[in-house]
């Protein structure tokens, strides 16, 4: 499109937005004291900003579209290509490990604290990724299992004095159990019906926790949840934070390890196939219901473990921490990061959880920016920041039949 035409178009758009935002941006009414303020300068700003924004927006939109058509080359994300490169991988992973080990010692406690939050979200994201990314089940009530884990630790500790290390595996079992219980009646539903019903379960669990005082202490919540001990030794506040940090790191590594193995197993294949075509799957002898339930329950397992960490770190929980917004945030982590991609989910969690924390400098505007970023990322990178690259099974004919090896490589 010629420049002149573009400018004209942007001018029209700017004008449209000036009209559009007029009542809300310009007129500020205070119905309490009956004051009206006209802020004409805002109008000017809206005009200028939208004019520039529309030029930029159109430019990038066209670029993405052109890119789509002529992009024959390998569209594997850079990070994946780098990770396949042995020369790069070792030093990179080494550096990464060094960074994460040194992290709590270099940075003040606050950074460790929010990094723990982010890492808990990595766990949650990887867990939800099994459900949404691999099995294709839209779960909007994932927070329910998170709550199950958190309350399991808080209550078992309160009533029976069970320690963190006892509750962690127990909560995993509880999570699985709840996954099966909640999944059982609803997994025959399809698509968005499933989404809304899982959302309902999430809310039901929260409301019950809120109202059933005798059980959960109601909205007052449970305070003074002890931090994990190290063979019976209790650290002071700072060291506890560091200790929890390393526990989460270990759990995240474990999650990545197991989820990766699951993905590349018979079950993982079945999940992905089920996402593609349910009917064909059944005709291939895959039990649709059981396979979906497995995904749902496994996802729940990780959410519950995340919940235990959350409770141990915050030391105080109440039902307000488990609203639907939490589920939405976890879903955003998965989708914005890149559905189905573990690296993507990690990136998504770090960006989505750390970003608002660092945006505190512009506290008032951070949610505005956050919302806008979600839209922008999705419009320009609909597959998420890091597109999923699945390891595919390939077969090497050069090998002798009896010693067939499965070579994992990236399909290009």
């Amino acid at each position: 499109m010629p420049i002149k035409q573009q400018l004209k178009q942007s001018l029209i758009i700017a004008f449209w937005f000036m009209i559009l935002t007029f009542p809300i941006m310009v007129i500020k009414v205070n119905t309490i004291q009956n004051i009206i303020v006209f802020r004409w300068f805002n109008l000017l700003w809206v005009g200028i900003l939208t004019f520039v924004a529309s030029l930029v927006w159109n430019y990038f939109l066209r670029r993405t579209e052109d890119g789509k058509k002529k992009d024959f080359e390998d569209d594997t994300p850079l990070i994946h290509r780098l990770l396949q490169n042995d020369r790069f991988r070792r030093p990179f992973l080494g550096l990464l490990a060094a960074f994460f080990i040194a992290y709590p010692f270099i940075f003040p406690m606050y950074h460790t604290s929010i990094m723990i939050s982010a890492l808990v979200y990595v766990m949650l994201g990887l867990g939800l990724n099994i459900v949404v990314g691999l099995a294709g089940l839209l779960d909007l009530g994932y927070v329910a299992f998170y709550a199950v884990g958190a309350y399991a630790y808080a209550l078992l500790n309160l009533h029976f004095g069970l320690s963190f290390w006892m509750v962690l595996p127990l909560s995993a079992l509880l999570g699985t159990l709840f996954g099966v219980l909640l999944g059982y009646p609803v997994l025959r539903l399809r698509g968005d019906y499933l989404a809304i019903v899982t959302l309902g379960f999430g809310e039901i669990i929260r409301i019950v926790l809120e109202n059933w005082d005798e059980f959960s202490n109601g909205p007052r919540g449970i305070a003074d949840i002890p931090a994990p001990t190290f063979f019976g030794h209790q650290f002071n506040q700072d060291n506890t934070m560091i200790y929890i940090y390393f526990i989460v790191i270990a759990l995240v590594l474990m999650t990545i390890f197991f989820v990766n193995r699951l993905e590349n197993s018979k079950i993982g294949r079945a999940w992905i196939a089920l996402r593609d075509d349910e009917i064909a799957c059944q005709a291939m002898g895959i039990d649709k219901f059981k396979t979906k339930l497995t995904a749902f329950a496994l996802g729940a397992t990780w959410a519950a473990m995340g919940g235990v960490i959350f409770a141990a770190k915050t030391s105080y929980i109440n039902p307000m921490s488990f609203t639907i917004w939490e589920s939405i945030t976890i879903l955003c982590v998965v989708v914005i990061g890149g559905m189905g991609s573990a690296i993507g989910v990690i990136a998504g969690a770090l960006v989505l959880i750390l970003l608002p924390e660092y945006l505190r400098a512009v506290a008032e505007y951070r949610m505005l920016v956050f919302g806008a970023l979600q839209v922008i990322v999705m419009v320009f990178k609909p597959d998420g920041l890091i597109k999923s690259v699945r390891k595919v099974y390939t077969f090497k004919t050069s090998q002798e039949p009896q010693q067939e090896k499965i070579a994992h490589g990236t399909h290009t």
Binding site: A270, A283, M284, K288, T394, P401
Partner: protein
């Protein structure tokens, strides 16, 4: 001898509509049988009733797998039907598009593999062994069907005819004794159809399969089938050898049209 598949008085209603009305069909071991009829006559519904995708309103489906006792398929979910040895392909190709050819066949092996979640996470030697074996078996099947050269291709990138054959390969991976093919030649050119013809005969003769197929390509049907069943408006109107069917006035009227030679 017991028929390998014995469908008795099958009726399937959707709301008030009778898609199938009291259809009985028996298929002998080693037969290539065909099911023909106009569109909307209920042929695919018939397949769906056998494979458990629909639960028939009335009627029973019994199978007698070679060397085993007669059992009923009534009320079984599709995956259990597959486990009992009936595999199928689809009229509109339903491959898993995000997967390679090998993986598509591996999915077919799914129900013959035993390892569960715990094994998948811990990966003991037995599981590794099983996976290796599955890959090997899958490759062998592809070799037989003639798709070995595509083994690492993405399924969507295959030529059309090869996609149809891949559906058959995938069905074969479930170790069936009875293969149901839903319009396997649809959209194939004469050359590909000819190859398909050979493949089906080969499967029957060398893999001990019994085959039931739905097809509109009359040339294929007539040359291949031992026995033909004709349905129209959900009712079975005729059965017999190809020659008998060609001459049957009801079939000509409902389906073939006057000069049934040129299609």
């Amino acid at each position: 001898m017991e028929p390998i598949l014995d469908v008795k008085n099958l009726t399937m209603k959707f709301g008030g509509l009778k898609a199938l009305d009291d259809v009985s069909i028996a298929i002998e071991k080693g037969q290539i049988a065909a099911l023909i009829g106009p569109n909307g006559a209920g042929k695919t519904t018939f397949f769906n009733c056998i494979t458990g995708i629909y639960d028939p309103t009335i009627g029973n489906v019994e199978i007698t797998p070679p060397g085993k006792n007669t059992q009923s398929l009534r009320g079984l979910k599709p995956n259990y039907v597959t486990e009992r040895g009936i595999a199928r392909t689809f009229q509109n190709i339903r491959l898993f598009h995000g997967m390679t050819v090998l993986e598509n066949v591996l999915i077919g092996r799914h129900c013959r593999l035993s390892s569960g979640i715990i094994k998948a996470m811990l990966k003991p030697p037995s599981q590794k062994e099983e996976e290796k074996q599955a890959v090997y078996d899958s490759y062998k099947i592809l070799e037989k069907i003639g798709l070995a050269k595509y083994v690492n291709e993405m399924a969507v990138n295959l030529p059309y005819g090869a996609q149809r054959r891949l559906e058959i390969a995938r069905a074969m991976a479930t170790d069936p004794f009875l293969l149901l093919l839903d319009e396997p030649a649809a959209g194939m050119n004469p050359q590909e159809t000819k190859e398909l013809d050979d493949l089906i005969l080969w499967l029957r003769d060398n893999e001990n399969l019994t085959i039931l197929l739905i097809e509109h390509d009359m040339k294929l049907v007539m040359s291949l089938s031992d026995w033909i069943h004709v349905v129209d408006y959900g009712k079975k109107i005729a059965e017999g050898t190809p020659a008998e069917i060609k001459a049957n006035p009801d079939v000509i009227k409902a389906y073939l049209g006057e000069e049934s030679d040129d299609a």
